[in-house]
């Protein structure tokens, strides 16, 4: 039996389990990840099956958690740590940027850091401040880190295993509002694409929608809705934010001549800004319209009552598609 119907939470959980079964150097660490199984239950049952050593409840201290993971990785382990919510990564930001990202480089490759930092990210769950943020650009901006975002249960299952197998430090972003949302069929006999690749998830000819994490679902719905307006929309799930996999993006935009990037993160200096720049540099003469960006507002993330105003939705994506055709 290789096929099952799973949620993203289940996919990640099964992926972590598979990685731990394959390599006994893989261990999990974080706040409440052990006995509780994590606040989102992503590590549910793993401590019971793998023991307290391999699924370690840590003190409440993010800088300490990441620093400890660095030391473990330097001594031959493959730690996978959970940052409970996106906004809690900031106390660990120092370790991530000043230590994790630099270790291989400054040691001339003598000290690789196979370390995965899992971060549930994005909004839409009615949480309090600092529980709904999208900090990906801050890490993608940092040389020495790799940054990926999964968008669906099947990718969750494979990408977490691939990230753990990578010898580089990986910031692994999980769209928290999708954890328990949709189910998908996982067929473990079908080999996954390589980790640091983008994938076309819907074919189209008129405009290219670029998204990752929680916005992939929104963009797929927008593409479906656009059909009734006679528009054929291609959707690319970027999956990797650092390095960017520009091949599929440029090939698509050269065909469609139009591109819209969508993310929950603030628009200013978000991933959309970099994608826009690169598309413009690489295929200027194919463009029928400027690359447009749909993003969260350039304000702090709002309180729960107002988050639906902040989060880009179907209408905002379709509006950008319309604007693209207006050029």
């Amino acid at each position: 039996m290789s096929t099952s119907r799973i949620t993203l939470a289940k996919g990640l959980n099964a992926g972590l389990r598979a990685a731990m079964e394959q390599d006994d150097k893989v261990m999990l660490m974080g706040e409440d990840v052990g006995r509780l199984g994590g606040v989102f239950r992503i590590t549910d049952g793993l401590q019971k099956d793998f023991g307290e050593r391999r699924v370690l409840d840590s003190p409440l201290a993010e800088s300490g958690i990441v620093g400890t993971a660095v030391g473990l990785a330097m001594r031959g382990y493959r730690p996978v740590i959970e940052i409970q919510f996106d906004g809690f990564v900031y106390p660990a930001y120092d370790q991530i940027v000043t230590q994790v990202a630099k270790m291989s480089y400054r040691s001339q490759g003598k000290v690789p850091l196979p370390l995965v930092i899992r971060i549930p990210f994005g909004g839409g769950i009615g949480a309090v401040e600092h529980h709904s943020e999208s900090p990906e650009a801050q890490f993608a901006h940092t040389p020495g880190l790799k940054v990926v975002a999964c968008s669906n249960p099947v990718d969750g299952y494979w990408m977490i295993q691939q990230a753990i197998a990578s010898d580089d430090p990986v910031i692994f972003l999980e769209p928290k509002r999708q954890y328990h949302a949709d189910k998908a069929d996982l067929d473990t006999s079908v080999a996954p694409p390589p980790l640091f690749t983008s994938q076309v998830v819907r074919r189209g000819d008129d405009v290219t929608l670029l998204a990752y994490g929680p916005m992939v679902r929104t963009c797929l719905a927008a593409a479906e809705a656009a059909v009734s307006e006679g528009r054929s929309v291609e959707v690319i799930d970027l999956r990797t934010l650092s390095p960017l996999d520009m091949g599929p993006v440029l090939a698509s935009v050269r065909r469609t001549g139009r591109a819209v990037v969508a993310h929950e993160a603030h628009r200013n200096l978000g991933m959309g800004s970099e994608l826009s720049a690169r598309i413009t540099e690489e295929c200027f003469y194919s463009l029928q319209a400027p690359v447009l960006r749909v993003g969260g507002f350039d304000t702090p993330y709002p309180a729960a009552r107002n988050e639906h105003h902040f989060l880009p939705d179907l209408d905002r994506v379709l509006d950008a598609v319309d604007r693209s055709f207006a050029f």
Binding site: M27, R53, S58, P59, A61, S63, G64, I65, V66, G67, T68, A69, V70, G71, L72, A73, M74, R75, G76, Y77, P79, P91, D94, Q95, T98, Q99, K102, S104, Y105, R106, S107, Q108, G109, K110, V111, P112, L113, P114, P143, G144, K146, S166, D167, D168
Partner: protein, 312 residues
């Protein structure tokens, strides 16, 4: 034995002084922090580490590297940006590492090495090796959150971390006493349940005893220890520091108690011939001259390699 100690300390002093010369003459570029006056802490503590133990130092770490056995020639080359540097010139004065010598790196983020040492000790527990991890930091670093996080982490999990706080009374130009209400820094550790001692860091015997007990505790699985070693730097915080913050007479007093002057007096009082004592300094200086000259002849690192090793 005591003469060997003197030679070990002179090696560090001579290395640091040669580094200062090279910095002022030009081959070494940029910010450099020396540890003159603090040699006994590095020599004493490293004498108790086993090859398999991991040391995490700071930007004031050249002497710790020497005490750990990193070849001076490779340190000079590193600081001069040569291909033959321990890290091919990538790490520079404040960020080089040589894991093959148990020297897991300096760090120019004050306090950042402490949680990393915790991870190394956790690995030592997991793989059954009980390899200890020593992290050394200054008095100023005691006020960093990461150090507090690391100490509690190690205490709660019973990890073999040796926390060495080199209390040289200053963080940069600011006296530690102005920045804490409780001058006994070791109480930070005891408050977290870590056995802690305060010692005269200029006394090699005290440094040795404290670190021996700490490494033994780590190796026996008895958890972390904390050592506050009182010391003094007899040079500026960095090369070029005008040191106007020092009260009158302080440096003169420090020059009397600093470990090389102290051990020299002891040896002479013990009846060791002046000639033997002086030979330590001469030999150390010759070694460093030779090492520096060799490093100076090595080619500079090629900027064309700048993008290499960003990823594994």
């Amino acid at each position: 034995m005591k003469l060997d100690d003197l030679l070990s300390m002179w090696r560090i002093r001579a290395l640091e002084e040669k580094i200062r010369d090279l910095r002022l003459e030009g081959p070494i570029v940029g910010s450099v922090h020396l540890a003159n006056g603090q040699e006994s802490v590095a020599v004493g503590a490293c004498s108790q580490l086993r090859p398999q133990d991991a040391l995490y130092a700071t930007y004031r770490g050249h002497g710790w590297a020497v005490a750990r056995g990193v070849p001076p020639r490779e340190i000079f080359a590193e600081l001069m940006g040569r291909v033959t540097g321990v890290n091919g010139g990538r790490g520079g004065s404040a960020h080089f590492s040589a894991p093959q010598h148990g020297f897991h790196g300096e760090n120019s983020i004050v306090g950042a090495g402490a949680p990393i040492a915790v991870g190394a000790a956790l690995a030592g527990k997991y793989d059954g090796s009980r390899r200890a991890a020593m992290t050394v930091f200054g008095d100023g670093a005691i006020n960093q959150g990461a150090v507090a996080e690391a100490m509690n982490f190690a205490a709660a999990l019973g990890l073999g971390v040796v926390f060495v706080c080199e209390n040289n009374r200053y963080s940069e130009l600011t006296p530690i006493d102005d920045m804490v209400a409780e001058p006994d820094l070791s109480r930070r550790a005891s408050a977290l349940g870590i056995p802690a001692v305060r010692i005269d860091g200029n006394d090699l015997a005290q440094v040795r005893t404290a670190t021996r007990l700490a490494v033994e505790a780590a190796a026996a699985g008895r958890g972390p220890s904390f050592i506050e070693a009182h010391t003094q730097r007899i040079v500026g915080h960095y090369i070029g520091d005008s040191e106007q913050y020092r009260p009158a007479g302080e440096l003169e007093r420090d020059l009397v108690v600093e470990p090389i002057a102290r051990l020299t007096r002891e040896l002479l009082a013990d009846g060791v011939p002046t000639e033997s004592v002086e030979r330590c300094e001469r030999r150390a200086r010759e070694e460093m001259e030779t090492a520096a000259a060799a490093a100076l002849r090595d080619p500079l690192a090629d900027p064309a390699t700048a993008k290499e090793h960003l990823y594994a």
